[in-house]
């Protein structure tokens, strides 16, 4: 993926003035870096053959390895390695043919081995980048620092018993990709868009399902503030933010909180905070009583992960089309604006739906029917595209009828409503209800003549005020039951009324 039109990553670049947070004491800029944990879409775990599926009875998706039983040993899942490479390639990142697993040592009941197997010093994926829209519509490049593979922990449940914690190890050992950005993000919108685009990317690649309700993707957001171009501030890490919207909210809240403290003469404590979705605020996690000292060292149960270059190249050769490339193609192939293309490629499912709707039809009409009419209806009814009562082929049918002049836009809206109501195809509805557009100039002329005869004063008015044409078109459409082709009506009217 080569991006030449946008500025490359520069260390701690200054935010654009329009991104500055204005305050009584002057301006501030926000510096954000993110660590996104994406669960690899694999059947089994990173180091065991237990199911990685979401849910299940407690401790049912658990092998002895995942429970940290004595003498149990990890064996790596090749598919997971492949997905990490794929994701790296999708981010245009360096693929490290030699990487290593280290142990991160700490005690917690949902960490059965007493250490997490992760890649600390030598991650599988090195530097890359992701293009992200800024709030002014321009595109910025967010640098990717690294991606490493690691084990997820189990789940501690604190509310089943007043005196005890219950531990379910079903998540224990599931494969995570930790995607670490550089601190290149300068606003809440950019942060949200970064998360959104990253999610879109992994979904295109099918390396992660991006299902945020199931915790498949979650972000740790590092936020600090500084005077524009000034000394870097102390950062706080907001843990486990699990939606695009919340990422934006968390950055905004946290930046404002830090600015307030600094303006009151206070200092920022480097700490880990939680985002409370109910209040939209961040709050400090009760700090663990000890300073961390994870005592990383190479996991002696595993050997270096060595990738074959040809294997990597084969993965590269089979990569699907990615959002950035698809966006460019949508602009050139379909003549869509950057904005429209961006909306469509934001989700793999949208893009595929659109391409089916637009196939052999007017691409712009297809876009507006999908993003305005269909998305509008879905939004109003709280449904996802996957739950749409009108499929891509059916919507394509409707767009086809508009494109070839069978019906006009106004009639199409009625047809659209009836499609939702009945589930019938557009052509069937048009046929059944006789909604075909009249292009018969004779019939249109006859109805215009009749109207001119009954409204002579309006004829005179129109000749003086050409704006009256709209009234005339409306009358003709009304007289023809909305079926007349508006372009033809316009043309004939102009001639008969003598308007240029």
């Amino acid at each position: 993926m080569t991006q030449t039109s946008v500025p490359a990553y520069t260390a701690f670049k200054t935010a654009r003035p329009d991104q500055w947070v204005k305050s009584v004491t002057g301006d501030w800029e926000i510096i954000v870096g993110m660590e996104v944990h994406a669960q690899v879409s694999a059947k089994s775990k990173l180091f065991s053959g237990a199911s990685a599926a979401y849910g299940g009875d407690p401790n049912s998706h658990v092998a002895m390895v995942d429970a940290g039983m004595p003498g149990m040993l990890p064996v790596i899942n090749k598919f997971v390695v492949e997905q990490a490479v794929k994701t790296g390639l999708g981010l245009g990142a360096k693929i490290n043919l030699w990487s290593r697993f280290d142990r991160k040592n700490y005690f917690y009941p949902d960490l059965p081995q007493g250490y997490q197997i992760s890649q600390y010093l030598y991650p599988i994926i090195g530097e890359g980048s992701l293009e992200v829209a800024s709030e002014d519509g321009s595109m910025i490049m967010v640098g990717i620092e690294r991606i490493h593979l690691e084990q997820d922990a189990g789940k501690s449940i604190h509310d089943l018993d007043p005196n005890s914690t219950y531990v379910d190890l079903n998540r224990s050992g599931c494969a995570l990709m930790e995607i670490v950005s550089k601190p290149d993000i300068r606003s809440a919108d950019e942060a949200a868009n970064y998360f959104k685009n990253l999610r879109a990317l992994v979904r295109y690649l099918e390396t992660c399902d991006g299902n945020m309700d199931e915790g498949s993707m979650r972000a740790d957001v590092n936020v600090s503030v500084r005077r524009p171009g000034g000394e870097l501030g102390t950062r706080c890490e907001i843990k486990n933010v699990n939606s695009t919207k919340f990422v934006g909210m968390a950055v905004n809240y946290e930046a404002r909180r830090q600015i307030e403290i600094l303006e009151d003469g206070g200092t920022i404590d480097q700490e880990t905070r939680l985002f409370d979705v109910k209040t939209g605020q961040t709050r400090t996690m009760r700090s663990k009583e000890d300073a961390h000292d994870y005592r990383y060292f190479p996991d002696p149960d595993l050997l270096p992960l060595i990738l074959d270059e040809a294997w990597v190249e084969n993965i590269r050769a089979n990569l699907p089309e990615l959002p950035a490339a698809m966006k460019a193609r949508f602009q050139s192939q379909y003549g869509l604006s950057a904005y429209d293309a961006d909306v469509l490629v934001a989700d793999k499912e949208f893009a595929a739906f659109y391409e089916e709707v637009a196939k052999g039809r007017d691409a712009k009409i297809a876009n507006s029917w999908m993003t305005v009419e269909l998305f509008g209806w879905l939004n109003k009814n709280g449904k996802e595209l996957s739950q749409s009562p009108i499929g891509a082929a059916a919507l394509g049918g409707l767009v086809g009828l508009i494109t070839d002049g069978t019906i006009n836009g106004k009639i199409a809206k009625d047809v659209f409503a009836k499609m939702i109501e009945t589930g019938d195809e557009a052509a069937v509805i048009v046929e059944r209800e006789g909604l075909k557009q009249t292009t018969d100039t004779g019939a249109i002329e006859a109805s215009i003549d009749a109207l001119m005869a009954t409204n002579p004063e309006k004829v005179a008015e129109a000749r003086e005020k050409p704006k009256m044409l709209g009234w005339w078109v409306g009358q003709v459409m009304k007289a023809t039951g909305g079926k007349a082709n508006p372009a033809i009506v316009n043309e004939i009217l102009k001639g008969k009324l003598g308007i240029d």
Partner: protein, 95 residues
């Protein structure tokens, strides 16, 4: 590098091993005895030497992605000091 009492307390906490206060100094002395002996490694010229993490010089073998394990809840919980309703039960730990 010498281990003092505070360091013993710190590493004992990291290792989650309780050490009674009256044993701390004794442990510090024992550890220092061993660490002083280990200091002899400083005599070795290790310039340009790659650290050796394993005696096996092959690449990590990989397995196919298939569900071949799990669904053994009762075996997983069999040796648990405390279990209830399919969960391990541990002392209250709220972050």
């Amino acid at each position: 590098m010498s281990v003092d009492d505070a360091t013993v307390r710190k590493i004992a906490r990291l290792a989650r091993i309780e050490i009674h206060e009256d044993k701390v100094t004794k442990m510090a002395n024992e550890l220092n005895g061993i660490l002083n002996w280990i200091e002899m490694l400083n005599e070795v010229d290790v310039n340009g030497v790659e650290p050796m993490a394993s005696a096996v010089a092959i690449a990590l073998p990989m397995r196919d992605d298939a569900v071949t394990d799990g669904n053994i809840q009762s075996s997983i919980l069999k040796n648990a000091p405390k279990a209830d309703s399919g969960f391990f039960v541990v002392p209250k730990s709220v972050e």
